[in-house]
Amino acid sequence: MIHELDLGTLGLDRGGHLLVQRGLAPLSPGDRLRVYGADPHLHVHLGAWTRAHGLAVEPLEGPVGRSNNGAPLVAVIVAGDLVRRRWAGAERTGSAQAVAESDVVERPPSHWGLAARGARIEAGAPSFEFTLSDKAVVWADEAARLYAQAAAAQWDPETAIDWGAEFTLPVEVEDAVVQVMTYLIENETAALIVPARFLGRLHPHFREVMQLLAIQAADEARHIEVFTRRALLRRSELGLSTSGGQASLKTLLDEPDFALASFLLSVLGEGSFLSLLWFLREHGPDPVTRAVATLTAQDEARHVAFGLAHLKRHASLDPGLRPRLAQAIERRHSTLEHTSGLNEEVFDALVLLAAGSWAPDAIARGYESVGRLKQEMDEGRRLRLERLGFAPVEAASLSAMHTRNFM
């Protein structure tokens, strides 16, 4: 069949090739596209363009034809099938919206790579090394909702906290705040690096999980910022970092298994941290510390929720997961058995911070509060372990083995 295209004065050097491609797209191989146009270079450019695109051009014979608009006939292109052949083996990579179970596949192939989930990809794409590519291990139906919540709940450290709020603290109470902040920064650094590392290994097919891990890392970046700012509000130097504290956090970074690392960090570590931040929200001696704790706790709650959600799903599909989780706690416990756990300075700082002064009564109250905090942390851990299917007795014993460093 013969089809016609009038480019008017448009040349191929100004986008005319788009119209030629559009004209050729619906044609069957062997069909002819008569191209008319008044651009002076159209003949030269069509020759080069068709050659580069593997298209044949018929020689023009007889008097030059003209379009209805008077543009001369420049070329007769013979439609080919290269475009169709290019896309013949293309495949659809699941569905963009994760509604039905099958929209997100169980094991996306490595050659789906960076393609958007739901895109149609050309056959022959290169393979990518995304080692976290098992839906059973990484997926949670709640991921999309949690991501949306996280995106909506982002706060600007500059404006969300009144950094100029007036307060005066006794020198040593301020020192205690600085020590606690120093400890929080160190822990949040681990909480940033762990998901960020898995993010680089996660198959992008699990888009919502990828987004959630990314925003989780961004949350931690912001937490590090606000803890640092609070620490430096009245001081020029930070507090102490102990070998035992770092040894505890190092076990999180050393864990290569997503489920186990996520369990230790999000469910147990950040879960315990949530209690600590609530404690600071309540007992923080100044409005800035309380505001910082309030905002960061909101974010941490989401991190815990995602950890619980994907591990719960994972455990329901893999009966072997729970024993592995238990072993991970035991292994970490034995690794850290001979370290000091929570540094004394942090513990003492928490007591003083809750006490607000050196008065013996106040110290007694502070000490009691920190004791209650540890109890709440333990209760929280047991509750979350039970939600993952551990029996209450087992949950209690596992919780007791959690690192004394809290995270």
């Binding site: 020759g47 593997g54 022959g124």
Partner: protein
């Protein structure tokens, strides 16, 4: 002595991607039980000489290198043939371009003017356009000034740099006309080197062909036949092969033909382009 179970190709390393390309071909052939390897050269003259000396079996030759191989083998009482070429290497043209607002209307208007060309050994940006001038009565260097852009001589214009420099010279007004392959006129327009509408094609050469796979007499017949058959069987619809074809810039391989080199042969004869090299080759062979 080379093992003759392996077909060895000679190619010029005009760009780092050349290694990727021939490694890809090596894998493609290996999967189809043709042992294949390649040698890289920094310029076509050394490659042609090495081919004649028997270092390898098949040359990936520029059109000028093809003529070099043809003339040298003739002098040495040998023979050569072109066995395959890219579809995109057939029916090229070059154009002579002036600024759109210039007064030049025909090629004769460039008498006494300055004309930018590419590298001195570029068929598409220098030799063939200058032949076009000469065929229309304008002797290069006599009736008009030739402004060369000798980037990477020895690569026979495979590198686009010389043509781009010629185009820039035209846009800057330092020359009155510039010569380039038709596809680069489109490319330079699209990328803005010569904005659309800023230039006018004053003349277009006749059609000519570009690179080919060249063999000399005595090439290992069975291996060459297998090589040729596997090349022609490369299918753009095959996703395993398509990236390689895209990289090499073709949609299909075609059997070799030599009639498309007539224009370049006329240029080479007229300008005695190969005389010094052939003379030296002769003395070396003697």
């Amino acid at each position: 002595m080379r093992k003759q179970q392996t077909l060895v190709l000679g190619a010029v390393a005009y760009d780092p991607k050349v290694v990727t390309i021939w490694n890809g071909f090596r894998d493609y052939f290996a999967e189809r039980e043709l042992a294949f390897d390649y040698m890289l050269f920094s310029n076509y003259e050394t490659q042609v000489e090495a081919h004649l000396a028997g270092y390898f079996d098949v040359a990936w030759n520029s059109p000028l290198a093809w003529i070099e191989a043809q003339r040298a083998s003739r002098k040495l009482r040998r023979s050569c043939s072109a066995i395959a070429m890219r579809d995109t290497d057939q029916n090229l043209t070059s154009v002579i371009v002036v600024q759109a607002a210039s007064p030049f209307r025909e090629i004769g208007d460039l008498r006494g003017k300055r004309v930018a060309v590419g590298a001195s050994d570029s068929p598409q940006a220098t030799l063939i356009p200058l032949e076009h001038f000469a065929a229309h009565g304008l002797r290069p260097g006599v009736d008009f000034e030739v402004v060369r852009h000798d980037l990477l001589v020895g690569l026979h214009g495979d590198h686009i740099g010389g043509e781009r420099e010629a185009a820039r010279a035209l846009m800057s007004g330092s020359v009155d006309a510039a010569c380039m392959i038709d596809g680069n006129h489109l490319l330079f327009g699209q990328e803005g080197t010569m904005p659309a509408g800023s230039t006018r094609v004053l003349a277009q050469t006749d059609r000519y062909d570009h690179c080919n796979f060249t063999i000399l007499d005595g090439a290992p017949t069975r291996l060459v036949e297998r090589f040729e058959a596997l090349l022609l069987a490369m299918d753009y619809g095959d996703p395993a092969v398509r990236p390689l074809m895209d990289l090499e810039g073709l949609k299909a391989w075609r059997p070799g033909r030599v009639e498309g080199y007539a224009l370049l042969e006329r240029a080479v004869d007229r300008f005695e382009t190969l005389a010094p090299w052939l003379a030296e080759l002769n003395s070396g062979a003697a």
